[in-house]
Amino acid sequence: MKVLLFAGLKDSMERESIDVDVLNQSVGQIKQFLIEQYPSSTGLIERSHVAVDQNYVGNDFRFEMEPKEIAIILPVSGG
């Protein structure tokens, strides 16, 4: 499914989203997959949180079903 990218990560990976097979994978494994695909974005991916259906989840979170939305969230800087 489509994983959404924003801000510095969107610029670094030069795309707004990436298709990832998430079923039965953990958030940590998905980050590792992204690092393998985009090694030059490693530092940014390691610093990111992941949001599933608009809630932050930890690296241990495992996808037993496909959510509606997944996003990679770099440290935020609103305000």
């Binding site: 969230i73 440290p75 800087s77 609103g78 305000g79």
Partner: protein
């Protein structure tokens, strides 16, 4: 009232919205584009957000603040896109019966927004270079 907008924030309108005959205290916080960060000069800021989550997080923060401080009204507006020097990128208006609750809740709302709400700023420096701001956790 929670809003993400590309337009200049109408702060007078925001105060009007939260004000009522019950509110003995109204606090307005504005986060503005600052020209200098140390030696570096900002030309403007550009904001981006993950809109559906930003709205849902801002609603969560508002609900928490209203129940925790027993507030009468809260309004939060965040701008995205280009924000010029001196203009507000965020406005938070809080109304309560007494001032302590309005000040405390306003402070908590902006601090928590800056930690949790998926909005990002890009500095456009005076030398033409740009830089996304992704702060290290403190």
């Amino acid at each position: 009232m929670i809003e993400i907008t590309r337009k200049k924030i109408d702060t007078a309108g925001l105060l009007e919205r939260v004000h009522s005959s019950q509110s003995g205290a109204v606090v307005l916080f504005l986060g503005n584009t600052r020209e200098f960060t140390g030696e570096k000069q900002t030309t403007w800021l550009s904001y981006e957000c993950y809109e559906s989550m930003a709205i849902s997080k801002l609603n969560e923060l508002r609900d928490h603040a209203v129940s925790n401080w027993n507030l009468l009204e809260v309004a939060i507006v965040h701008r995205i896109g280009r924000v010029d020097l001196g203009e507000a990128s965020v406005a938070i208006a809080v109304a309560s019966e007494h001032r302590a609750a309005a000040f405390d809740a306003g402070r908590w709302l902006i601090d928590t927004l800056k930690e949790q709400v998926p909005i990002w700023k890009k500095e456009v420096w005076s030398d033409g270079s740009t830089e996304w701001v992704h702060p290290d956790p403190t």
